[in-house]
Symmetry: C2
DNA sequence: CACTGGGCTTGATCTTGATCAAGGATGGAC
DNA sequence: GTCCATCCTTGATCAAGATCAAGCCCAGTG
């Protein structure tokens, strides 16, 4: 039984992190009322604006974040500055490498982001004592692993046109899974440079491919980041 | 505390899977003697020769494999046949997507391989009852996730020359971590086509880059797959 | 309003790696 | 041994995408 992000979000386990004063089910959903109460005393709701760094590559892990709203991008950088985005985290994902002293990558707010921050010691204590939480975290790790491997196919074997289509599809499906039908309207949570860094391309190539999708009547671009997908089917057909 | 593959292999937990009549610590190391005894009654040692498929993409997951010897490659294929290798599994890695009805990718023996095969129902029962095993599996999932993301940087942002150097380095360090000093002697566990599919390149490009590394005195190629790295430092310097 | 700067698009040209095409090694079958 | 198939290398050419170079759009500022 494969739990999707949606399933986790909608699961029936009651969860209320008091310091955040909201229900967030990504992590808390796995906890007992007692554990939740304990957790609540240590969590802190934090707002980030686009571009803020949550954790730096190689920095000591001090805390973990449960994404409540917005999109967090995970990236790695080579010595000479070449950058690759290795993952996007949407609500209610959990950000932060467990069981590691230092973060293997940078986590940065792609859009304005709201997170529930848990101190490292606290979370590790909970992970230690809660098998349910470990199970939930294993599920997320396995899902992220699937997503990373899926993306490796995109990076290694798809053309620029297919890469751009794949990213638009990914975002369209993640940002508002509620929208039905063939059309999707959304704001890109990232700049052209971010897109290029995610796809292993340059901004110019991304721009040209977006223009082409527009010319072919598959999307319309209202503002730079305001996208409407006119036909999901035709978009999927371009994903390779 | 980050457990490396080596640490797991060398951990002090006693483990003996009776049907295999060998200690294999990747998975069994996390079990109690009672659980191990139970497991032993259901495992089966299986030999595969290079090219054998362990699990097909989209096939129902019937069992899981603990790699004992050799290298298993994980790959995904697009409809039109383009293939991407998304991971290599060395002993004592565990092969098989937990908590999924069907495998998201193909697992294939890259070299001759020996595995300890556990029926699905059996493993799921053990995972359910053993928090230690879940912890061990979470560790492997997190390590694989790190490796996958590291490889995304290689796929997305490195040149052909850097990609080939990175793969040789990866294999040199994995296959025999005992070898010390600047030199490494090993057999490539994969064909030029496999290498190309791992790196998102063509066989011709791989071949040219290997020739270049040889010409530059960084490796010698005895037979097609018999490689000696003459200077790890100089190889690392080419990894980008 | 004009000015500025950042992010995006578009065009011209160049480079890297793909593609097409031969030919060379290696190993198994007979 | 010869034949054959498979895998690998090398060379010539091509094309996808990078790079270089303007110019555009738009929000923010004075």
């Amino acid at each position: 039984m494969d739990m999707t992000r949606r399933d986790i979000h909608n699961s029936e386990v009651p969860a209320l992190c008091r310091s955040c004063e909201v229900r967030h089910k990504g992590m808390c959903g796995a906890l007992t009322p007692d554990e939740l109460l304990l957790l609540s005393k240590h969590t802190r709701q934090v707002q980030h604006t686009s571009g803020d760094e949550l954790v730096g590559e190689g920095a000591d892990v001090e805390s973990y974040d449960n994404v409540m709203r917005g999109v967090v991008k995970l990236s790695k950088t080579l010595e000479d500055g070449r950058q690759q985005i290795v993952g996007l985290q949407f609500a209610p994902d959990f950000v932060g490498r467990l069981q590691a002293g230092e973060s293997p990558m940078t986590a940065e707010a792609a859009s304005d982001v709201e997170v529930c921050r848990v101190p490292r010691a606290m979370l590790e204590r909970l992970v230690e004592q809660s098998p349910t939480l470990r199970k939930r975290l294993l599920e997320q790790a396995l899902r992220e692993l699937d997503e990373a491997r899926e993306w490796m196919v995109t990076l290694g074997r798809k053309t620029a046109a297919e890469k751009v289509a794949s990213l638009l599809l990914l975002i369209a499906l993640h940002l508002d899974p509620e929208q039905k039908g063939e059309k999707r309207l959304f704001d890109l949570p990232m700049s052209r440079l971010d897109i290029a860094d995610f796809l292993g391309l340059t901004i110019e190539t991304v721009s040209r491919q977006m223009t082409k999708l527009k010319a072919d009547g598959i999307i319309t671009i209202t503002a730079n980041r305001h996208i409407e997908v006119l036909s999901l089917t035709r978009l999927k057909a371009r994903c390779g």
